[in-house]
């Protein structure tokens, strides 16, 4: 594999950039693999990369129904953070933050990680108290957190609505300075390129049609491009988890819902942080191209549509305009939707299953993108060692039975209420 560097860039300029290697190959599936990862999204690609890099398991195939990076890794709002209160979520995400900081060097691919900080706005005294508590919990876990006063917030984001006579005045906020954004597509491509270079087969346009399970053990997987013998399968399919679980005759504490996002027309730099509205569900950042990247609530009913309806978008943008009135002057450039694997307590599942050789990675709700490296790292460990790592021990499937839920927001099992 050619290294991406300034020298290679100059060298290839002399041949009009026509002689670069392909970033990854397009192999036909082999008859047998050591591990098959189903789902060529961020988490699947990262899992294959860490299987090869950390555990030296390279006889691996990634099977993807469409094309790699075509699902939620290409549809999210690119926010990376670890501002969680519960230990399991905080330690897992902070481990991920460390991988994010090194990712561009590690993958030899510029993922444009931009630790610009995230500010959660507070709109009441009670919310300030809650944020103080969350910030303290974060600090106890070694994560940076700063409680900001109204004046401090005003200094950082003067374009927010600080007038006195508003329904949700800004009381202050909680900031995680090390949080930020990254270029989402580059994450998928970077992992794919490195995984491929270490011998992983990335097989696109290949749909899983069934599983061969015998005596409670994984024997193989059936696909639209032939049957594959394999002893270990990692399921990494986000919004399609329930569809594949149905083929395996298992039920999961997961529902599939639709989440929309949108970008405005590009404007000059105005916002250099990620900001979330505290009185509803709305978040915003500005991309390097100048577009305001925005998102908010789920559409609110089970959906596989990958496109949303207007009432939710209107509701979300109303919140945005309440927070930053200048947004009302912008034109909408693009809206889109992705399907979320909403778990029943809002936290993910990375675990073994009752079927030997079947491993599960799902339930990421809104937070899948930021978790990409940590999810891949811990899932690779779980598959390679056939046991969970302490970082993902809390993300067990069994917790819904034992009651050890990780309900960060305290919402209960109504996943569509956000």
């Amino acid at each position: 594999m050619q290294k991406y560097s300034i020298f290679n860039l100059i060298k290839n300029a002399f041949s009009n950039h026509e002689n670069w290697d392909l970033a990854w190959k397009d192999p036909t599936p082999k008859k047998e693999y050591d591990v098959v990862i189903i789902g060529g999204g961020g988490h699947g690609l990262a899992t294959a990369y860490y299987l090869a890099k950390e555990h030296n398991i390279t006889n691996v195939a990634i099977i993807e129904k469409g094309w790699i990076g075509g699902g939620n890794i290409g549809r999210n709002t690119t926010i990376i953070r670890s501002n969680y209160m519960h230990d399991d979520n905080a330690l897992f995400s902070e481990f991920g933050m460390d991988l994010w900081r090194r990712m561009s060097q590690d993958l030899n691919y510029n993922v444009m990680f931009s630790p610009r900080g995230i500010i959660n706005l507070a709109h009441s005294d009670a919310q300030m108290n809650t944020y103080a508590r969350r910030g303290n919990s974060m600090r106890l876990n070694g994560i940076d957190a700063e409680l900001l006063s109204r004046e401090q917030v005003k200094e950082i984001i003067p374009m927010a609505d600080f007038s006195e006579n508003v329904r949700f005045p800004i009381f202050g906020g909680l900031m995680q300075p090390s949080a930020g954004t990254a270029r989402h597509d580059a994450v998928a491509w970077g992992y794919a390129r490195q995984a491929d270079s270490m011998g992983v087969d990335i097989i696109q346009n290949c749909e899983v049609t069934g599983f061969d399970i015998s005596g409670g053990k994984v024997e193989g997987v059936r696909t639209s491009r032939g049957n594959i013998k394999v002893k270990k399968i990692g399921l990494c399919v986000a919004g399609s988890t329930n569809i594949l679980a149905d083929k395996l005759n298992i039920n999961l504490p997961v529902e599939t819902h639709l989440l929309q996002a949108c970008v405005s027309e590009p404007v000059k730099p105005v916002l250099d942080r990620v900001v979330t509205f505290g009185a509803g569900h709305f978040y915003i950042s500005q991309s390097d191209k100048g577009e305001m990247v925005m998102g908010g609530d789920l559409d609110g009913y089970n959906s596989y549509a990958q496109r949303g309806n207007l009432p939710t978008l209107q509701h979300v943008l109303t919140e945005g305009i309440a927070m930053m009135p200048f947004l009302s002057k912008l034109k909408m450039l693009r809206t889109w939707g992705g399907i979320m694997d909403m778990s029943m307590d809002g936290s993910p599942i990375i675990d073994k299953t009752h079927i030997e050789g079947l491993y599960l990675n799902c339930g990421w709700c809104y937070g899948g993108f930021k978790a990409t490296p940590a999810s891949g790292w811990t899932f690779a460990h779980t598959i390679a060692q056939n046991r969970v790592h302490e970082l993902n021990a809390g993300y067990s499937l069994n917790r819904f039975h034992t009651g050890h839920l990780l309900d960060e927001k305290g919402l209960g099992t109504k996943t569509w209420i956000s």
Binding site: N242, I243, D246, L252, T256, N309, L310, H401, T413
Partner: protein, 89 residues
Amino acid sequence: MLHIKCPHCGMRSQNEFSYGGDASVKRPELNKEISDQDWDNFVYYRKSLRGKHWELWQHLSGCRQWIKVERDTATHEIFKTHKASEDIS
């Protein structure tokens, strides 16, 4: 936008309704031997498949009645609506 035909009020816009989830989930019967697994299934486990899906909606800004709706989760097409008391086929 979805248009949902309330069996009590007729065709109304989605804005008047609030969602209540999978209508096929049944609470375990009282006064019977109930396993933990039954409770798990009732509280947490869902099929959530692509295609036809029976679900509960409440006509919150209308008659306030709960209703059952059969909707396609991929196309959003609505096939049937029932009163909450009616059994789904």
